[in-house]
């Protein structure tokens, strides 16, 4: 999907710069002032969800034909990065809207897209992505939620765990087993459905209390005989596993963008502190041990950023190595975010440990980027497999 706006060089285009700066202004003026309170209260920021909708930020990932702004992957990631600099919870609103819509965007019919995308693009509807179960995290193929064909419907029974936005979504992209035959190929057992909620049999049974990303509701969802029409199935029966893997190829950069944003936010706070704080008669940034840390934090963040941008361009161009690029950028960015935020707390010393400064929140927020959307260990497996191929 190469378009004319794709940079043949290593610089952002003027359009991408404008867009990044537009989102940055919104993030600095409207999102940042709310970040601490969102973390403290643990409440989903409806006001910021509405702000993102009103500013057309939620329209970025969707095709113009269905009411979106037709942004490329890099454009969407630039927006996620700028939002996450101010507040990781808010950045996730855009990231999940993209993630959960990807199966529909990749394999949905025009009719399905026309049904659901306009309201996703306008932000009137939120969508969640339900693969993970209590006993199936990294091992996606091991999920047990069943979807049984019954006339013109499927009946879905099971439960999903750790579903971001599960309690605030209007649509849930659900992956379920449609072929329970033990001799069936492991990668052909699953199918993908869009469930419109509320609906009979669907219940939010739990909201997790998390270390970080505390304003983002992470839910357990129960499906007790939930009926969905066949028209709500995305792709053919058995396509679910492949569809999930293709989704991750495009969604992992979104999480990498969140991680880069978190890292940059923490670096900004640490650098400003090092300029202002004076000990032993000079600013602490002039002590080499501190300067060295800050330099490493900057280099770490920038390299994660550049890998992310490159990965986005490659994936958008249709590279056959999409899995490698997406796993690699998420791997590097997640580790970068954890390292940079931890060091940011260190630079601030005692002040880094109290909630008067945002870096302790950023450190707590950063950790999830090493866990979700595929653990760092899974990302490594993907990269290694791309490098080594299969054992003949």
């Amino acid at each position: 999907m190469v378009t004319e706006s794709m940079p043949p060089t290593y610089r952002l285009t003027e359009e991408q710069t404008l867009l990044r700066d537009a989102v940055r202004v919104i993030a600095d003026e409207r999102v940042a002032p709310r970040a601490a309170e969102i973390d403290k209260s643990g409440e989903f920021p409806q006001d910021l969800r509405e702000l993102l909708a009103a500013q057309d930020i939620l329209a970025l990932p969707f095709p113009v034909k269905f009411g979106g702004l037709g942004g490329e992957l890099l454009t969407v990631c630039l927006a996620i990065e700028q939002l996450s600099r101010a507040c990781a919870t808010t950045g996730l609103i855009l990231a999940v809207q993209e993630l959960a819509s990807l199966p529909l965007l990749i394999a949905g019919t025009d009719g399905q897209k026309a049904r659901w995308i306009p309201k996703l693009a306008s932000g009137e509807h939120l969508i969640a992505f339900a693969v993970t179960e209590a006993e199936a995290g990294s091992d996606v193929a091991a999920i047990r939620t069943r979807a049984v064909r019954d006339g013109d419907d499927y009946v879905i029974t099971g439960s999903k765990r750790f579903i971001s936005h599960g309690s605030v979504a209007d649509l849930v992209t659900v992956f379920a087993v449609t072929n329970a035959d033990p001799t069936a190929a492991r990668s052909r057992r699953l199918s993908c459905f869009v469930v419109e909620v509320p609906t009979p049999g669907f219940e939010v049974t739990r909201i997790e209390h998390k270390m970080g990303l505390r304003g983002s509701p992470t839910a357990e969802l129960a499906f007790d005989g939930v009926r969905v029409p066949v028209a709500n199935r995305i792709g053919n029966e058995g396509d679910g596993f492949e569809l999930a893997m293709k989704t991750f190829d495009r969604s992992r950069p979104g999480i990498a963008a969140q991680a880069v944003g978190i890292a940059q936010g923490a670096l900004d706070v640490a650098a400003a502190y090092a300029r202002d704080r004076r000990q032993f008669g000079k600013r602490i940034g002039d002590f080499q041990l501190v300067a060295g840390m800050l330099a490493d934090m900057d280099a770490t963040t920038e390299s994660a950023r550049q890998l992310l941008y490159k990965a986005c361009v490659e994936i958008e161009a249709g590279t056959p190595d999409a899995s490698r690029w997406s796993a690699m950028c998420k791997l590097v960015a997640g580790d970068a975010a954890m390292r940079v935020t931890t060091d940011a707390v260190q630079v601030l010393g005692g002040y880094g440990y109290i909630d008067e400064f945002p870096v302790e929140r950023m450190m707590r927020d950063a950790k999830i980027t090493q866990l979700y959307e595929g653990t760092q260990q899974i990302q490594r497996l993907v990269v290694a497999r791309a490098l080594l191929g299969k054992d003949d």
């Binding site: 004319e4 706006s5 003027e14 359009e15 404008l18 867009l19 537009a22 989102v23 202004v25 500013q55 057309d56 930020i57 329209a59 970025l60 702004l69 037709g70 942004g71």
Partner: protein, 263 residues
């Protein structure tokens, strides 16, 4: 309503990277270019007029080096309809007189009801081009506008011109050229929709040959002004910043002036 807005890409004053090249002139290769500040205010005024009228088109007109389209994109993203970009290697180093002649010639090929231009540009700060263009075209020139009110039915335009005592009220028949000040109102930040829509907007390029102009009468060799010398301003001495309530501030300022026997 057809409005032309004159737009000049200038080095970004906010970037702090303005510096002089070896020829003593502003090094335009260094700083990132942005749309001249006053021109953004002019464009904002045009956008508001079109919105209020419920119809209209805004054409940007710019005489600038070949890389101008990048800079014009923000102005298109703000909502301008299209852009006309006059560019030619022979135009490098043109003086203000030449610039005005070229832009006036380009305007003869456009249909417009009025032309808006920032009162001056942040790089040269000459402030004569809009007036010179009006003179070339034999059009009324209404300067230092703080409010603009066109009347398309009577084909007239009213402008409040900033004056030392407040403002003067001017009226002229259309078409006319209006010099715009920042009092017209803060330029909008382009919306995401506007930024993405700018992709599809037309930028027409015109060379000196397209305009039927002789390169020998433009550019550095034909310039009517010569740069004799340029220096950086001396760095500021110690400054005292007065903080506090207005009363506290006023008291401190009075003390300051008394200390220096100014009052």
């Amino acid at each position: 309503m057809r409005i032309v807005v004159l737009v000049k890409p200038v080095p970004d004053p906010a970037s702090g990277s303005e510096r002089l090249g070896p020829d003593g002139r502003l090094d335009r290769a260094v700083a990132p270019n942005v749309v001249n500040g006053n021109d953004e205010f002019a464009l904002e005024a045009a956008l508001k007029l079109v919105e209020a009228a419920g119809e209209g088109e805004i054409t940007l007109l710019s005489m600038a080096p070949a890389n101008a389209p990048e800079t014009l994109r923000k102005a298109l993203a703000m909502g301008a309809t299209r852009a006309v970009h006059v560019t030619d290697a022979a135009l490098a180093g043109s003086c203000a007189v030449s610039t005005a002649a070229v832009l006036a010639r380009a305007l003869r090929d456009l249909e417009f009801d009025f032309v808006l231009a920032g009162i001056d540009a942040s790089d040269g700060v000459g402030g004569i081009v809009p007036a010179a263009i009006a003179a070339h075209l034999g059009l009324p020139y209404l300067s230092y506008a703080q409010r603009i009110e066109p009347d398309m039915t009577t084909r007239t335009i009213r402008v409040r011109r900033t004056s030392p005592t407040g403002y003067d009220l001017l009226e002229a028949p259309l078409p006319a050229v209006i010099g715009c000040t920042q009092a017209l109102g803060e330029p909008r930040y382009p919306s995401l929709k506007g930024i993405m829509a700018a992709r599809g907007k037309e930028i027409v390029t015109r060379s000196l040959a397209d305009l039927g102009l002789d390169p020998a009468t433009h550019g550095a060799n034909a310039a009517t002004t010569a740069l004799l010398d340029s220096t950086m301003p001396p760095s500021r001495g110690a400054t005292e910043i007065v903080r506090g309530t207005p009363d506290e501030g006023a008291a401190r300022i009075v003390d300051f002036l008394v200390e220096r026997r100014i009052i």
